[in-house]
């Protein structure tokens, strides 16, 4: 099911009595989630990710704007009529019911012509349990299971009615690092197998990048950029997106454009034709540095961390905001006090000093 949000805005009345201003949690969203894809909603805490998910789910109604599932306008439809399944961060499994009873719960709500016989319900529940591989735990209660298992049960419960849309709010944040890696692959697999349009929320960029077909980067209720993970990483539209994506993070320098050249400190590092002269922000990805004896960027080395295939060089430069981290191939020799770098043009992004929007060379 294709989901389309059209100029969706959601504001909450301020809880603070002194300050009567409304909190705008989601500000003028317009985007399309193609049918059968896995979309990651990504952004820092409080940027309106959960609110967006609740809007799609129907637990909140937008202050203005419209939401479409396929061609149906579902803006005013209550959640139970939308055909969605949702998994919350804490899973919200009913603790007094067994796993099987939890999965059966949505099916038992069906009424009238949709009402199922006991046997059919059991079949469907077993099928959902098989899909998430918890068939052997059906008689357990939620508290007798690990976080990862509970999360699978929650997904099974959300999927058992074959929803048109599956929504996951920070599904992995309660899991430890190893389980998180494993479970995100699992989510990817389940989504592929069922083909259900899935939206999941996370504040972990790595998570979003690794499994999504499409990511939506948000900041303070406003969409910053939408696209394939690699595209957004390679071509960020502003400094926020550049900083938010990537581990290790992008290195930010304060630079300057002078007569068609990009300067970091006093050194001209790259040609930058067509740019207006003046100060800019420069973001350089860690993999954008190439050591070279006559490279223009001279940095003082602080530490060299060998990581097998790659080497991570921590160094400083007067124009850099913080310590620089460069990931280079281990073949290079970086044993001196200083190291000189050449830059890969594709890994260097230039941003306006005021608006922090991307500036492209002519």
């Amino acid at each position: 099911m294709r989901i389309y949000l059209e100029h969706v805005t959601k504001s909450f009345p301020s809880q603070n009595r002194k300050e009567k201003r409304n909190v705008i949690a989601v500000n003028d969203f317009t985007y399309e989630i193609p049918d059968g894809t896995l979309t990651g909603l990504l952004g820092p805490s409080g940027c309106g990710k959960s609110t967006t998910l609740n809007l799609i789910c129907g637990l909140e109604t937008p202050t203005s704007g419209k939401i479409y599932f396929g061609d149906d306008d579902v803006t005013l439809l209550p959640p139970e009529s939308r055909g969605v399944g949702i998994v919350f961060q804490n899973y919200a499994l009913y603790p007094h019911l067994t796993v099987l009873e939890n999965i059966l719960f949505p099916l038992q709500n069906l009424k009238g012509p949709e009402k199922l016989s006991k046997a059919v319900m059991l079949d469907k529940a077993r099928e959902a349990a098989d899909l998430v591989q918890i068939s052997r735990l059906l008689e357990r209660r939620p508290k007798e299971m690990s976080g990862g298992q509970q999360q699978r049960v929650a997904i099974a419960r959300a999927l058992v009615k074959r929803p048109r849309v599956l929504l996951l709010d920070e599904p992995l944040s309660n899991l430890d690092a190893r389980l998180r890696l494993q479970t995100r692959e699992e989510i990817r697999r389940i989504q592929r197998e069922t083909g259900i349009t899935t939206v999941f929320v996370t504040h972990d960029q790595e998570e979003a990048m690794s499994i999504s077909d499409q990511i939506v980067v948000m900041k303070e209720g406003i969409v910053q950029q939408i696209g394939k993970p690699q595209t957004v990483y390679d071509d960020p539209v502003n400094l926020f997106v550049a900083k938010f994506l990537g581990t290790p993070p992008v290195n930010v320098f304060s630079g300057e454009i002078r007569s068609g050249q990009l300067y970091l400190g006093q050194a001209p590092v790259l040609p930058f034709p067509g740019g207006r002269d003046g100060p800019v922000w420069v973001g350089i990805r860690p993999e954008g540095f190439v050591p070279s004896p006559d490279g223009p960027l001279v940095c003082s080395t602080r530490a060299v961390e060998v990581m097998g295939r790659d080497t991570s060089v921590v160094c400083t430069h007067p124009a850099a905001e913080a310590q620089i981290r460069a990931i280079i191939s281990s073949e290079h020799d970086v044993s001196g006090d200083t190291v000189r770098f050449q830059l890969k043009p594709a890994k260097v992004h230039v941003f306006d000093r005021q608006s922090e929007n991307r500036i492209y060379p002519a």
Binding site: E80, A92, P95, P106
Partner: protein, 297 residues
């Protein structure tokens, strides 16, 4: 190691002494009194040891009346007050804006003195040769037969007593249940809504199990409290409850000790032990039933 044990007991000593003086000793004493036949409190002598006191109490029409009153009170007020409190709390929880105000209003009876509330009830329900009282005026207005609730037929007096008891115990139950309801994670309700769960099913399958420990707590303490009813009846009908036919078991015990017919600690002890046996039985039954229906997180 031994020293540490000694220290532990030493720390417990004050509490143990206190419990011994004010709980264990009186209990044992009650047991002894109840078995001493023909005990005379003035001379502190008795004829023999046996079960005569129990037999006397169980054949005393006043005691049987008291047992009947108490049982009626328990059977009527505990389910009624708990059910009503649940209903009100659920309604309160669905109107967050007015909840604080209503919570205060519903809590007022709890902080009001029993006797003051009794007085108000008396004024509402009493019928004198000169005036009818508010309730009777209302009954009259709707064309009903007026009744003297305070000094009339048994059912009328029982009705007032039950109303009064429910009124007195409700605030505490509402307070407990509203906080229990507020502590249920709202995500359960959200998931249930998304899954198109009918409201009644949400209530019975999610809300009730979640707050079942609190409901159970209220039922147990409600039973125990109602079995120990006494002061409420005094507030309504005065100290001579036997004359009003509205005595309770605790009232009977009190009368046997200090009332007009007083000075019979042996009968009082026997009655108290019978009450103890009843309460214990009911509580054990409650616990057994709860095992199946109460879910502890």
């Amino acid at each position: 190691m031994r020293l540490r044990h000694l220290k532990g007991w030493l720390y417990l000593l004050p509490a143990l002494l206190f419990l011994g003086c004010f709980m264990i000793y009186p209990l044992v004493d009650v047991l002894i009194y109840s078995l001493e036949e023909g005990y005379n409190s003035a001379s502190q002598t008795y004829f023999g040891v046996g079960l005569y006191n129990f037999s006397y109490v169980l054949h005393d029409p006043y005691f049987l009346q008291a047992v009947k009153n108490t049982l009626l009170l328990v059977v009527i007020t505990v389910p009624l007050s708990t059910g009503l409190a649940l209903l009100i709390s659920v309604q309160l929880s669905s109107i967050p804006k007015l909840r604080d105000l209503y919570q205060t209003v519903f809590f007022l009876p709890y902080v009001t003195n029993t006797l003051a509330v009794g007085l108000v009830f008396m004024i509402l329900f009493k019928k004198t040769p000169y005036s009818d009282g508010m309730i009777n005026a209302l009954i009259h207005l709707f064309g009903g037969e007026t009744v003297d609730f305070m000094d009339g037929p048994y059912w009328a007096k029982m009705l007032v007593t039950c109303l009064y008891t429910v009124w007195i115990v409700m605030p505490f139950k509402i307070l407990i249940l509203t906080s229990a309801l507020a502590s249920v994670n709202p995500d359960y309700y959200k998931v249930a809504r998304v899954d198109a769960t009918p409201r009644w099913r949400i209530f019975t399958k999610i809300t009730l199990p979640m707050i079942s420990p609190m409901i159970f707590y209220l039922i147990i303490t409600g039973f125990i409290g109602a079995f120990k009813a006494y002061s409420d009846e005094v507030a309504l009908f005065g100290v001579n409850l036997n004359a009003a036919g509205m005595n309770t078991i605790v009232g009977y015990v009190y009368d046997m000790l200090y009332g007009d017919s007083g000075g019979y600690p042996s009968y009082a002890s026997a009655a108290a032990l019978i009450l103890f046996a009843i309460v214990l039985t009911i509580t054990v039954i409650n616990l057994l039933v709860s095992r199946k229906h109460v879910y502890y997180a």
